[in-house]
């Protein structure tokens, strides 16, 4: 490398030059933006090696279990840098999401030593943790011998970081002082609005700012745009239909899924008057303006319908809207984003979040080596590389969100995305009560919503029955 380029990169790594300034100056020297990004990444890797013994596990191999996802693609694209940095070998199996968690459950419940680390959602750790399948990562995070100073754990977004930590007590607060760090956040999704700007302009619609407006706007969109339905939300008979837009709206009304008693016992909390009112609005919205086959819609159909111009907007994972605004999608370039607080009386949005995280198998024979991979993959350098060079959104680190290039790139191609994130990030966290029956109760909740939308049961009665069933199950499991 020429000395001038080297000096510039060193200046950047020492904090004397901004990333944007570096890339501009490198461009002046004839280095393209892509090449400059790769160069910075490579130099950052070299700089990492300077203050920490990354070669400690040189020659060791670790094996990963991964979900097919853009986060995985970003990691694989940068993996050679990790191998070069550590001298370690990394093997991995990648499975599509439909079967991914079955594979994880099978591998972990059998006590298999095949995989050292794997991708997971924070909700899953409420099963894996108490079952003794995954390792509390506090031991590694807090050990300067095992974790580089530059890892900067406090750089993680607080709500996201805390959402991955639980003390194992049913109803225990996420991120409490005695919580175990069951997983490390990798990338995450808030739930907000993504809408079709062209459709909204043509139909003269304004972006809704609360649930009442959302119900009305969705109905107007359906009525005024031919062949389009108003609002895309998930509806399949699965816990995954509850956690995105629905729970984000629900939590914004100050509602909870469960009450935690003074004795630590849990009880259903979804049949309050406020909850019933919110459910009624939600059900009406789907009946009036939702997808005709809503009850089979997973994230996939919600996203592709927006991308194909079949729906006017979605209230779902923000990154779903992000990905639908690119690629070969018919509506690529036409989408925009907005933060959403369902409750008119709320000060700000409080989205529930999904966190793709990295966890360590308790059965791993190479935990220290596995941690080296995990800290690199969730570290600031890889996070910045993924966010600026690949589609690694949403990053979980504050430093990445502060990066000017990243924000500029997002703002340019994804109107409103940065603002949406900034407005809702402070209130973004897992809004569920952590407890071992999470999947049972939320799947039943989704089934109840389906019955309400199909007019099989009135909202009031449906929620009372759901609460009764939830309380019975909690009691059977000695939790209520």
């Amino acid at each position: 490398m020429y000395e001038k380029e080297k000096d510039l990169v060193h200046s950047f790594l020492n904090g004397r030059l901004s990333r944007r300034g570096l890339i501009k100056r490198l461009a002046g020297l004839g280095v393209s933006a892509t090449a400059a990004g790769s160069l910075v990444n490579m130099m950052a890797t070299n700089a990492m090696a300077a203050d920490f013994d990354w070669k400690k596990h040189s020659g060791t191999g670790v094996k990963l279990l991964l979900n097919k996802h853009p986060y995985t693609d970003a990691m694989i694209a940068n993996l050679d840098n990790f191998k070069q940095l550590t001298g370690m070998d990394v093997q991995y199996d990648v499975f599509p999401e439909d079967v991914y968690f079955d594979k994880v459950t099978a591998a972990l419940s059998s006590g298999s030593t095949e995989y050292d680390a794997f991708m997971t959602g924070a909700y899953m750790t409420w099963t894996y943790g108490p079952a003794g399948w995954i390792t509390d990562l506090n031991e590694w995070i807090g050990d300067p011998e095992k974790t580089a100073a530059s890892y900067n754990w406090d750089d993680m977004l607080p709500g996201v970081r805390k959402s991955c930590a639980w003390n194992g007590q049913p109803g225990g607060e996420l991120g409490s002082a005695d919580a175990k760090q069951w997983c490390i956040p990798w990338g995450y999704e808030q739930n907000n609005l993504a809408y079709n700007r062209n459709m909204f302009q043509k139909a003269g619609l304004s972006v809704p700012t609360n649930l009442d407006e959302l119900v009305d706007t969705a109905a107007q969109a359906k009525a005024s745009i031919d062949g389009v339905y108003g609002i895309g939300v998930r509806g399949s008979r699965s816990w995954a239909s509850i956690h995105p837009g629905f729970l984000s709206a629900y939590a914004n009304y100050g509602q909870k899924d469960l009450n935690v008693g003074a004795d630590g016992k849990l009880s259903a909390a979804m049949n309050t008057d406020v909850s019933k009112d919110m459910h009624s609005k939600w059900v009406k919205m789907i009946q009036d303006s939702g997808a005709p086959d809503w009850s089979t819609h997973t994230w996939y159909q919600v996203g592709t319908d927006l991308g194909a111009g079949a729906s006017a907007m979605i209230y779902d994972a923000d990154i779903l809207g992000y990905f639908m605004n690119g690629g070969d999608n018919k509506e690529a370039g036409n989408l925009a984003y907005a933060p959403f607080a369902a409750n008119p009386a709320a000060d700000a949005p409080s989205p529930n979040i999904w966190i793709w995280s990295l966890a360590m198998s308790e059965f791993s024979k190479k935990k220290d080596a596995a941690w080296y991979f995990m800290q690199w993959a969730s570290g600031p350098e890889h996070g910045l590389f993924g966010a600026t060079q690949m589609d690694f959104v949403n990053p979980v680190r504050q430093s990445v969100w502060a990066d000017e290039d990243f924000r500029e790139r997002l703002d340019k191609s994804y109107p409103g995305y940065v603002d949406m994130h900034d407005v809702s990030a402070p209130g973004a966290k897992i809004q569920f009560t952590a407890q071992p029956l999470f999947f049972d109760l939320t799947t039943e909740w989704a089934a109840t919503l389906q019955k309400m939308v199909a007019n099989e049961v009135p909202v009031d009665e449906g929620l009372d029955k759901l609460a009764e069933s939830v309380n019975r199950q909690l009691k059977e499991a000695d939790l209520g």
């Binding site: 459950t105 399949s236 008979r237 009850s295 999947f439 019955k451 059977e476």
Partner: protein, 305 residues
């Protein structure tokens, strides 16, 4: 003096031992298969007698028949039982009628009939989960060809698997599309192997075709019908892929058949005890059904002999 007595003692003893051991050696593969089946079966039976949730390992204990007793007062279980039986009964009945009809149409050995019977087997070669996904696309409200056809004949807003009113019908249609060829090919083989004399005699006597069908064809074909019914019934009551791929058991609890419920209990809720108990009940149902059908099949065979 026999030849055996001429053999040296050692060789004679080896032959004797060999003859004694041979039956065990021959039955060894069957024994290994049995072990392969019995180990998971016994394990599931043990789990079904336990309170066993992977997310609450500390609470694991034998509760003996409590999982089964809980089913008695559990409306979800009775719904599962009802849906499974209705699904199995409907699919098998319709597939039998259709399969038999097609087999009768293709009974004559002509090049065209042979070609058609081979072509009709195509759905059977499709993995049921893929068939379900194909149908999911064909019934999509936005671009599905079946939705278009239904709306073009004036039926608006037909929601296929998305509505509790039509979800069962939709998955039954997929099941029929995939599995009718199986019944058709079995019955076609049966029809073509029936002796020709009774039919020739009936033709000479000028017996009406409907009489021939009800009094000659159907009784003679009964062993094949029973075999096809048994296979399909056992398979149908254990249905998973079509229903799960299309609706995940919904809308509501419309299609929560045994396998879907057990799968969700095991892999999603990690409630091993309840999942195993559900599977043991499913096993008991299939065991009883198999016995009934095999006994009837044996009776028919005896009568034929």
């Amino acid at each position: 003096m026999t030849v055996e007595n001429d053999l040296p003692g050692v060789r004679r003893r080896r032959i004797k031992v060999g003859r004694r051991v041979l039956p065990y050696i021959l039955s060894l593969p069957a024994l290994l298969v049995c072990i392969g089946i019995l180990v998971p079966f016994v394990t599931a039976a043990i789990y079904s007698l336990q309170r066993y949730r992977l997310s609450q390992p500390w609470a694991r204990k034998f509760n003996w028949g409590e999982n089964y007793l809980n089913f008695l007062s559990d409306p979800d279980f009775w719904n599962t039982l009802k849906v499974s039986l209705v699904y199995a009964g409907t699919t098998v009945t319709l597939e039998l009628m259709l399969g038999l009809g097609i087999a009768l149409l293709l009974q004559r050995r002509t090049r065209f009939n042979n070609f058609v019977s081979i072509m009709l087997l195509m759905p059977l070669m499709t993995a049921p989960v893929l068939a379900a996904l194909m149908w999911k696309l064909m019934t999509n409200s936005g671009f599905g060809i079946l939705s278009y056809l239904v709306s073009s004949v004036g039926i608006q807003d037909f929601r296929w698997a998305s509505s509790p009113d039509t979800a069962l019908l939709t998955v039954v249609l997929v099941d029929i599309w995939v599995y009718t060829p199986f019944i058709m090919i079995l019955l076609l083989a049966g029809l073509r192997s029936l002796p020709s004399q009774p039919f020739e005699a009936a033709a000479l006597d000028g017996v009406p075709r409907t009489f021939v069908f009800w009094k000659i064809t159907l009784p003679m074909l009964m062993p094949y019908i029973l075999t096809a019914t048994l296979f399909r019934l056992l398979d149908s009551i254990q249905q998973f892929d079509i229903i799960y791929a299309m609706t995940q058991g919904g809308p509501g609890d419309t299609l929560t058949v045994f396998q879907v419920e057990a799968y969700l209990n095991f892999f999603q809720s990690t409630n091993i005890g309840r999942s195993a108990a559900l599977m043991m009940i499913l096993w008991a149902i299939t065991f009883v059904l198999s016995n009934i059908f095999i006994k009837n099949w044996l009776k028919l065979r005896e009568r034929a002999n």
